[in-house]
C-alpha cells in the first residue's frame, strides 16, 4: 500500500531523487536565481509544441507513455491534447478546466472539477507562464545552470500543493525541454518542437481555447474575456 503524498516514506524517495538529480547534473553550477532565463521564458506570448509523457508505476512491467501537443497562450491558459494512445483534450484556464468532448467539437466543453485537476492546472500554468511572482509565491526555487542548459527544482510552499506533489524538476536550454513531477509516482513530460510566437491565430483560438470567432477577433493578449 502506498500512502498519500506527504508520508515519511515519500521524504526518503524525494531525498534519493534529489540526490540523483544533483548527481546527474554534477557538471552544472548551482545558482541562486537566473533572472535571464525567467525573463526570457516569461516574455513569450504563445508557446506551442509537442510532448511525450512517461508515467512510472511500481507494479507495471513498463512505464505508461503517451504523446500529444500543447499551446500555451499567456493570460488565457493552456490547450493540452493527448493524442496517443488515448485522445484527451483539455483547456486549462486560470479559473477552470474545460474538457473538450471527442465528438468533432460540436458539444460545448464541459467543466472539470476536483482537487487533482486544480493542482495540475495551477502547476502547468505557473510553469508555462514563468511568471516570476507566481513562481516565487508558490515554490521554493533552486537553480542550476551550465552554459545554455539550465535546471530548476521547485518545491511547493503551501500544504495543499505539497499533498499533490513533492517537487517539480524543470530543465531546458533556451526553452523548456522537460518537466518532471515527483509524487509517489514520477511523471515526466518531455517537450519537443517547441516554438514561441507573439500571437495566436484565430483558428487556434477558436478550436484550442473554446472562444467564439468574434471573441477571438477582438481578443488581445492582455485582456482575457
Amino acid at each position: 500500500m502506498s500512502g498519500f503524498p506527504g508520508l515519511a516514506g515519500l521524504a526518503g524517495i524525494m531525498a534519493c531523487v534529489a540526490a540523483l538529480a544533483t548527481a546527474s547534473a554534477d557538471t552544472t553550477t548551482p545558482v541562486a536565481d537566473d533572472a535571464g532565463i525567467v525573463d526570457r521564458l516569461g516574455s513569450h506570448a504563445v508557446v506551442r509544441g509537442n510532448f511525450i509523457q512517461t508515467r512510472e508505476l511500481d507494479n507495471a512491467a513498463a512505464s505508461l507513455r503517451s504523446q500529444g501537443r500543447f499551446i500555451f497562450w499567456r493570460n488565457h491558459g493552456v490547450y493540452w491534447e493527448t493524442q496517443q494512445p488515448v485522445q484527451i483534450a483539455r483547456i486549462y484556464r486560470h479559473d477552470k478546466t474545460l474538457v473538450i468532448e471527442d465528438d468533432g467539437g460540436n458539444a460545448p466543453p464541459g467543466e472539470m472539477r476536483g482537487v487533482r485537476d486544480r493542482h495540475f492546472r495551477e502547476t502547468l500554468l505557473t510553469v508555462f507562464s514563468f511568471d516570476k511572482d507566481r513562481l516565487a509565491q508558490r515554490f521554493e526555487q533552486e537553480w542550476g545552470a551550465q552554459g545554455r542548459n539550465w535546471r530548476l527544482f521547485l518545491t511547493p510552499k503551501n500544504r495543499s500543493l505539497k499533498s499533490y506533489l513533492s517537487m517539480i524538476e524543470l530543465w531546458g536550454a533556451g526553452n523548456i525541454h522537460g518537466l518532471r513531477i515527483y509524487n509517489d509516482e514520477i511523471l515526466t513530460l518531455e517537450f519537443h518542437d517547441t516554438r514561441a510566437s507573439e500571437s495566436l491565430g484565430i483558428e487556434d483560438c477558436v478550436s484550442g481555447f473554446a472562444y467564439s470567432t468574434e471573441q477571438c477577433v477582438s481578443l488581445t493578449d492582455d485582456s482575457p474575456p
Partner: protein
C-alpha cells in the same frame, strides 16, 4: 416633611442591598450582551431539534469570511496576508485555518483506504448497476494517461479503476474549489478577478461584544490598507457577527442618542416650568438613584445586561421623572407623600412587570430593569424629596401653563360630540390593523451587508444554519439506512431546483448493509475475474504480482464502522453526526439555496425524517406569544380594575381604566392607518400605556385642590414620555422602534384624554 418610618426603613434597606450588590458586581465579570435572538421566544422544536439547531448555530453562525478581490494576485495576497496575521493576533477571534482542514481531509482519506472496496458514491453504484463497467474502464484508461489525474490516496495498483480516488475527491469537493496562494491563503478566480479568502470564528460567539469590537478593529485596519494600496481592490464580508456588530453599534448609538435627547428635553422643560436648576437636580438625583438600583439589581440577577435593556432603560428616564414632577409641582403639601404615588407606582410597575409574562430572557431582564428602576425612583421621591422641602416660587412659562390646561379646555362642553366623532374613527383605524409575526420583520439587516453576503454566497457557497433535515433511526444502522433512502428524493429536489446542494451523512459513512452491497456489486461487476479490472491490468501491462496484490486487498477489505469514521472525519462531515439521544440515533442533512420549504416539509413522510425550519418555528412561537400577550393585557386591566375597586370602593373608579384603554386603541388605530403591521412589541407597549394612563388618572383624581399643579405635572410627564419614547421610534431595531412609537402615541393620547376621568 418626613416620610413614614416604614418607607424610610425600606429605602435604607434598598440602599444597603444595592451598595453590597454593586461591590459584588464590581469584582465579578460584568458582561454586556447584544444577542437579539435572546429577545425572541424559544421555538416549539423538540429537544433533539433544538440541540441540532444550537450545534449548527455554534458551528456555522459564529464563522465569518472576508473576500478580497482584484485583478492582480500580488496586492490581493498582500492585503489578505496582513488580514490573516491580524486575525491570528486578535483576541476573541480565531482564524479558521484552511491548511488544518486540508490536513484533516488528507488524513481522513488515508484512514479510509483499508475500507475502499466498501465505499462507492451513489453515482458510481448506479453506473455499476446499470452496466456502466465499460465506461468506467474507458475513463480509467484515459486517467492513467492523464497528467491531471496524478495524485490521490490510492495508487493505481490499489485502486486500478480509480473508483476510490473519485469517491474521496467528490466528497471533498468544497476544498477542491480553492487554490492556495503563498502563506496558505486560499483563493478562487471568478469574473476575471482573483479572490483571496480569509475565514475566522468569533469566540465565544458572534454576539460577544469584545469579539465584535476586535472584528471592527480588523475591518478598520483592512479598509485603511485597501485605501493605501492604491489599487482597485474589492472587499466582501459575510457572517452573522457583522450583522450582530452593526446591531450592537446601532443600539449603543441609540442609548447615547436617546439618553442625550431625553436629558436635553427634560432640561428645557424644567427650565421653562420651574425657571430654576434645583428641581432638575432633585429629579436627576431621583432618576440616577432609580437607574443605579435597576442596573445593579438586574446585573446581579442576570449576570450581565443586554444592550436592549439599556436602550429601554434610557427611556426609563422619561417615565421615572413623572414621580419627581408630581412632587415638585405641588405648591402646598397637604400630605407627606404625593397623593396617589403608591398607586401610580404600583400600576406602572404592574405594566412593566407584565413584560415578564413573555418568558423571554431578554424581555424578563428588561421588565426587571424597568420595574426595579420605577420602584426605586418612587421610593426616592417619597422618602428623599420631601426632605428638601422644595416649592415652586415662580409661575411656569406661559406656553407651558396654556398647554397644561389645553386638554381640559378641549373637552369642556364638547365631551359627547367629540366622542361621537372619535369613536367611529377609532374603529375604522382598528379595522385596518394587521397583526404580523414573521421573524424577518423584527430585524432589518444592513442592505450593504446583505448585498455583499449574496456575492460571497455566489463565490463561496455556505450551508443554511436555520433550515435543515433531521434523520433519525432506532440505531445508527437504521438512521443511516433512512438517510440513504432519502437520497433519491433529495436528488430529485436538486434537479428541480428546489435546493442547490445537500450534505448527507450516508454519503460519507454508508450503512453496513450498503457497504456490503457495494463490495458485492464490485465483485460481481468490474472486479469479477476477467472483467474490466483485468482488462485494465492487461492494457497497462501490470505484473501478475500486482494483480495478486490487488485481489488480496479485495478479500481483506473491511466495513467502515461509525467509531472508526468519527476518529478522522473532517469537521464539515462530522457536523452531520448527532449520535444517540434517548435511545435513538440522529444525523443532519445540511442544505444550500433553499427555494421551497413546502417541498422539504413533504419529505417528512419518509421514515425518521423531520424538516426543521427555525425561522418559521420562531415566527409561529412569536404569533402564539402575541396572542397570549394580548389576552394577558386584558387580564392586567381586570387586575388593575379590582385594585381600583379595593382602593376607591366605587364602581365609578373603573372609569380611570377608560383613559389607557382609549389611548391604546387610538395608538393602534393610528399605526394601522399609516400601514404599520402590529407586532408583539406593539402589544408590549400597550402595557406601558396602561401604566402611564393609570398614573395620570390617579394623580389627577387624587390632586384635589392642586389640580392645576397636577395638570402641569401631567403635561411635563407626557412631554418627557413622548420625547424619550418618540426617540426610540427612530431606532434601527424594528422591535424597539415599534415599542417606542406606540408608547409615544399612547403617552400623548393619555394626556389628551385624562380630563375625562374627572367630572366637568
Amino acid at each position: 416633611m418626613i416620610a413614614p418610618l416604614k418607607l424610610r426603613l425600606l429605602f435604607g434597606l434598598l440602599s444597603v442591598v444595592v451598595v453590597v450588590l454593586a461591590a459584588n458586581l464590581w469584582r465579578s465579570d460584568f458582561a454586556l450582551r447584544s444577542d437579539l435572538l435572546a429577545l425572541l421566544p424559544a421555538s416549539g422544536q423538540n429537544e433533539i431539534a433544538r440541540e441540532a439547531a444550537s450545534r449548527l448555530e455554534k458551528a456555522l453562525a459564529n464563522d465569518f469570511v472576508f473576500l478580497i478581490g482584484g485583478e492582480e494576485e500580488d496586492p490581493v495576497h498582500a492585503i489578505a496576508y496582513r488580514l490573516s496575521r491580524n486575525l491570528a493576533r486578535a483576541d476573541h477571534l480565531e482564524p479558521v485555518s484552511p491548511t488544518r482542514e486540508i490536513a484533516a481531509q488528507i488524513a481522513h482519506m488515508e484512514a479510509l483506504l483499508p475500507h475502499r472496496h466498501h465505499l462507492l458514491s451513489r453515482q458510481q453504484a448506479t453506473a455499476l448497476r446499470s452496466g456502466g463497467g465499460s465506461e468506467i474502464l474507458e475513463h480509467a484508461i484515459a486517467a492513467a494517461f492523464d497528467p491531471a489525474s496524478l495524485g490521490g490516496p490510492a495508487s493505481l495498483t490499489e485502486d486500478p479503476l480509480g473508483l476510490f480516488n473519485d469517491y474521496v475527491f467528490s466528497s471533498s469537493a468544497d476544498a477542491a474549489a480553492f487554490e492556495e496562494l503563498e502563506n496558505n491563503i486560499p483563493a478562487l478566480r471568478s469574473g476575471g478577478k482573483i479572490w483571496a479568502i480569509v475565514r475566522g470564528r468569533a469566540q465565544p460567539g458572534a454576539f460577544n461584544l469584545e469579539a465584535q469590537q476586535a472584528l471592527s478593529r480588523l475591518e478598520q485596519d483592512l479598509e485603511a490598507a485597501l485605501a493605501d494600496s492604491g489599487r482597485n481592490l474589492e472587499l466582501l464580508r459575510a457572517g452573522g457577527i457583522f450583522h450582530a456588530a452593526r446591531a450592537a453599534g446601532a443600539a449603543k448609538r441609540e442609548v447615547a442618542l436617546i439618553g442625550f435627547g431625553s436629558s436635553l428635553a427634560i432640561l428645557a422643560l424644567f427650565l421653562l416650568s420651574f425657571r430654576s436648576i434645583r428641581p432638575l437636580l432633585l429629579s436627576g438625583l431621583s432618576i440616577a438613584f432609580g437607574c443605579a438600583c435597576a442596573l445593579v439589581i438586574t446585573g446581579s440577577l442576570f449576570g450581565g445586561l443586554h444592550l436592549i435593556s439599556l436602550v429601554f432603560g434610557a427611556s426609563l428616564i422619561g417615565v421615572a421623572v413623572d414621580y419627581s414632577l408630581h412632587s415638585l409641582c405641588r405648591r402646598e403639601y397637604t400630605s407627606r407623600v404625593v397623593p396617589g404615588l403608591a398607586l401610580a407606582v404600583t400600576t406602572s410597575a404592574l405594566g412593566y412587570a407584565s413584560l415578564m409574562q413573555a418568558r423571554l430572557p431578554g424581555l424578563t431582564e428588561m421588565a426587571v430593569f424597568c420595574t426595579t428602576g420605577l420602584l426605586a425612583t418612587g421610593l426616592f421621591v417619597a422618602v428623599v424629596l420631601p426632605v428638601f422641602n422644595y416649592r415652586p416660587s415662580v409661575k411656569p412659562a406661559a406656553v407651558i401653563s396654556t398647554l397644561s390646561v389645553m386638554p381640559a379646555r378641549l373637552w369642556q362642553g364638547r365631551r359627547r360630540h367629540l366622542c361621537w366623532l372619535l369613536v367611529p374613527l377609532l374603529f375604522a383605524g382598528l379595522l385596518q390593523s394587521n397583526v404580523e409575526s414573521d421573524l424577518r420583520v423584527m430585524h432589518t439587516p444592513d442592505p450593504q451587508l446583505l448585498a455583499q453576503q449574496d456575492r460571497v454566497a455566489s463565490l463561496v457557497p455556505g450551508r443554511a444554519p436555520n433550515q435543515f433535515l433531521l434523520v433519525g433511526g432506532a440505531d445508527t444502522e437504521q438512521m443511516l439506512r433512512n438517510a440513504e433512502s432519502l437520497a433519491p428524493d433529495l436528488e430529485t429536489l436538486k434537479e428541480e431546483g428546489v435546493i442547490g446542494e445537500f450534505s448527507l451523512l450516508s454519503d460519507y459513512l454508508p450503512s453496513t448493509q450498503r457497504q456490503r452491497d457495494n463490495l458485492r456489486l464490485l465483485r460481481n461487476t468490474v472486479y469479477a475475474p476477467g472483467a474490466e479490472v483485468d482488462s485494465l491490468f492487461n492494457t497497462l501491462g501490470f505484473t501478475q504480482e500486482a494483480r495478486r496484490e490487488f485481489r488480496g486487498t479485495l478479500n481483506e477489505s473491511r466495513t467502515l464502522t461509525p467509531k472508526k469514521w468519527l476518529q478522522t472525519a473532517p469537521t464539515r462531515q462530522r457536523l452531520l453526526w448527532l449520535g444517540d439521544r434517548n435511545g435513538r440515533s440522529y444525523s443532519l442533512v445540511l442544505l444550500r439555496d433553499i427555494h421551497d420549504t413546502h417541498r422539504l416539509q413533504a419529505l417528512e413522510k419518509q421514515p425518521g425524517v423531520q424538516f426543521i425550519d427555525t425561522v418559521a418555528e420562531l415566527s409561529a412561537a412569536l404569533a402564539a406569544r402575541t396572542r397570549s400577550a394580548a389576552l394577558l393585557l386584558c387580564l392586567a386591566y381586570v387586575a388593575i380594575g379590582m385594585l381600583l375597586l379595593v382602593r376607591y370602593r366605587r364602581v365609578a373608579a373603573l372609569g380611570l381604566l377608560l383613559v389607557p384603554m382609549a389611548a391604546s386603541a387610538g395608538s393602534l388605530a393610528l399605526l394601522s392607518a399609516t400601514g404599520s403591521a402590529i407586532t408583539l412589541f406593539h402589544v408590549f407597549a400597550l402595557y406601558l400605556i396602561l401604566g402611564l394612563g393609570m398614573d395620570y388618572g390617579i394623580f389627577l383624581r387624587e390632586s384635589g385642590r392642586e389640580s392645576t399643579a397636577c395638570l402641569l405635572a401631567i403635561l411635563l410627564s407626557a412631554l418627557t414620555t413622548t420625547i424619550s419614547f418618540g426617540l426610540l421610534a427612530f431606532s434601527s431595531t424594528p422591535m424597539i422602534s415599534a415599542f417606542g412609537i406606540t408608547v409615544a402615541l399612547g403617552g400623548m393620547l393619555n394626556w389628551l384624554l385624562v380630563p375625562l376621568t374627572v367630572r366637568e
